[in-house]
Amino acid sequence: MCRKAVPAFIISDERESGELTMGQFDFFYIFKVIPVLLPYLGVTALIAVLTLLLGLGFGGLLAWAKLGKNKIAKGLANGYTSVLRCTPSIILLFLCYYGIPKIFGQFGINLNDIDQIYSVLVAFVLLYSAIMSELIRSTYEAIDKGQFDAAATVGLTSWQTLRRIILPQCFYIALPNLGNSIITLLKESSLAFTIGLVDIMGKAKLVISLNYGNHALEIYLALSIVYWVLTLLIAKGTKMLENSFRMGRRTAGNC
């Protein structure tokens, strides 16, 4: 992971306006640079997976608060979701990057040299737990309450009902939205470079600055191809999961 550096965008602004007066557009450069960038997808993937897991966890807690009876908890959870839904990721990123060391500094804890990835993770987990809490809540509400009744009459405990009847259905109902959320997460994570994290975007920026701004367009096109392919793969994967979990197909001629 890279050391704290001057935010990347400052370098790029200066160089890139110069790019246009020198260097020709080289189509094949796009494909030459992809192998250089791909290894850094690992960082992107790491952030995505961690954010997803932690976001689901915290989001689950929030959803539980929203669905419960405690009015204060419900209000707080809803307020949290509402506020975070209106916050651009880049602002949250910078707020965490500058704010976390500052706040902890008040308590005498020096966090000025921690790795950027922690700020990135905190920011994204905060953001994603709001999204996930809505996903979980709407999925739970979509389950027919009659399922609980039926399970009670045949004697299943609450835990058995949840585990064997409710959650599998929740998973299936949530799949399309979950897939979309993962794609959104992937795209938002592209902003992590702004606080200096060297993921695939960060590496691309480094390559551009090493080239003195040459071939910036090609590199950005390469980035867009990589992201696009990833998005298509995730969409495809979600579709496949949906198919395998469909639990009975709708065949023509059945009510």
Binding site: A150, V154, L156, R249
Partner: protein, 252 residues
């Protein structure tokens, strides 16, 4: 067999069940009739502890009296064990096959080993005419088929009484027949049934007892033939006039 005493239930300001009491004998096929809002469904749901009644008690067979508002989890299960429930909206477990729907409770709640449970399940399904569909998922079955699975699920563990909450109300007219036929078959085998329904044909042909409920109380309790031809109460008369086909006044 089933003894309900003094059951009372309010939803907020609205008192839906006003101190009802009645008894069911073994082998009775009892139909509960009444206008909507009379509390019929609430009564059924309270009996199986799907709603918590405010007052009253229940006695199944010769087990001790259990109070609705104070029942422990163990007591609730001791009642539910002996009651089967068929829902208006079937409420089949959407992520389980027909067979799995029937065996879920057997395996998990009654600790019946899986092979035995599956045998029982298949027999149950065969009895309702779905022996060849046991690995179908609910969304692959028609409404009538789904309800029959619901009935199979309710009767698999051979309960003392099966409660039916408007079992055919959610079905298209062509499909009610197959469900009513199954219910008739069960009645003929001597299974004790308590059925909330609007299907007068079932009441006439199959039931041996009719209870008319209105605004949370039992208004009249008589064999169907007697109630339909010569109802004692004015309220019953008014209700029957609206529900029954015109020519009924002449039968029996």
């Amino acid at each position: 067999m089933l003894n309900i005493k003094g059951i009372r239930k309010s939803f907020g300001e609205n008192e839906v069940l006003k101190e009802l009491s009645f008894q069911i004998q073994k082998g009775d096929v009892t139909v509960i009739l009444g206008p909507s809002g009379s509390g019929k469904t609430t009564l059924l749901r309270c009996i199986d502890f799907l709603e918590k009644a405010d007052e009253g008690s229940i006695c199944v067979g010769d087990s001790p009296e259990i109070h609705f508002n104070r029942a422990t989890k163990k007591e609730i299960w001791s009642v539910r064990k002996r009651i089967g429930f068929v829902f208006q909206n079937y409420n089949l477990f959407n992520n389980k096959t027909a067979l799995e729907n029937v065996t879920e409770g057997l395996i998990l709640a009654r600790r019946i080993p899986k092979p035995d449970a599956e045998k029982i399940g298949k027999e149950s399904l065969a009895k309702v005419g779905l022996g060849d569909r046991y690995d179908f998922y609910p969304n692959q079955l028609s409404g009538g088929q789904q309800q029959r699975v619901g009935i199979a699920r309710a009767m698999a563990a051979k309960p003392d009484v099966i409660l039916f909450d408007e079992p055919t109300s959610a079905l298209d007219p062509e499909l009610t027949g197959e469900v009513l036929d199954v219910m008739k078959k069960l009645a003929q085998e001597g299974i004790t049934m308590l059925v909330v329904t609007h299907e007068m044909s079932f009441a006439q042909d199959v039931a041996n007892r009719a209870i008319f409920m209105d605004k949370g109380v039992i208004v009249e309790d008589a064999p169907p033939a007697k109630m339909f031809s010569s109802p004692k109460e004015e309220r019953t008369r008014q209700f029957l006039r609206r529900i029954l086909p015109g020519d009924f006044d002449y039968s029996i």
